[in-house]
Amino acid sequence: EFRPRPPPRVAPADSRTSGSEPSRLAMAAAALRAQLNALLANMFTTGMVDEQFQQLQSLQEDGGSASGFVAEVATLFIDDADRIIADIAALLDQPVVDFDKVDAHVHQLKGSSSSVGAQKVKLACMHFRQFYEAKSKEGCLMALALVRSEFCDVRNKFQTMMQLEQQIAACGPK
């Protein structure tokens, strides 16, 4: 079960501190943190990411990995998947499709998506297999469309996640 981190407690404003920069930043950070928690909860409950992604988050939160570890993993995955999907599209655009190469690329994407916890992309890759094994170009094109759609969804969420983390960091230390 995903448990979002509570936003940091903010002391109530009084005549001495209301309107001060540190309190405004703290309140902004709390609001951003709430947004980030809601985003992450949504990604988990919709099955977009799975326990593997939670494990990566835990590594970062426990201090075992540098801050920015999850962002680095997400960025690598996005770049990798972008390239692989483009390569598969190019293969399927050929008059004679090399289904063995399609297999290799889909397998690679399945591996990277499972390592980062992008569950829906991984499942889309598993769905793809029946079509390249059957050497069905039409089937592969439909399967690629699903992979691309699932990837675009998780890419957008990861990018939003990273933007929120950057904004929270810009508010200063907790």
Binding site: Q55, L59, A104, H107, G111, S115, G117
Partner: protein, 134 residues
């Protein structure tokens, strides 16, 4: 490329993986378990490290890699007489277990490998190393 967990150098691990994101995730797990991590991008790089005389306590192999696959590398490394080093196959391929075990791997773990699975494997290597030193 060598990575080292600060203050801990007990187990020498070689990670053989061509996909960068998978390398980052697994190497982070290994560092968290206080392993000294060396990275190889394919089976041939792993074989070359052994030919150079490098020693490892555990090697984790992806299956399908350019130049040389994980099972192919295991065959060559075992043929060098490296029978003590623990060889672990790691793959998202449903048929990978047989490919690894038939060539002398000690263990197969499906991708994605979790910390809960890796921890006991590393602990077993630590225990064996301590027993061998006694």
């Amino acid at each position: 490329m060598e990575l080292k967990a600060k203050g801990f150098t007990s187990i020498k691990a070689l990670l053989v993986e061509d996909i960068e994101v998978c390398r980052l995730v697994l190497s982070t797990f290994l560092l968290r378990l206080h392993c000294e991590v060396t990275l190889a991008m394919n089976g041939k790089e792993a074989v070359d490290l052994f030919l150079e005389g490098k020693k490892f306590d555990i090697v984790l192999f992806d299956k399908d890699m350019p130049v040389m696959t994980g099972p192919e590398a295991i065959v060559k490394i075992r043929a060098m007489g490296e029978t003590d080093v623990k060889m672990v196959g790691v793959s998202a391929d449903d048929h990978a277990m047989e490919a690894f075990m038939s060539v002398g791997a000690d263990l197969f773990v499906p991708k994605p490998m979790r910390m809960e699975a890796l921890g006991p494997i590393i602990q077993e290597v630590i225990n064996k190393k301590k027993n061998d030193m006694v």
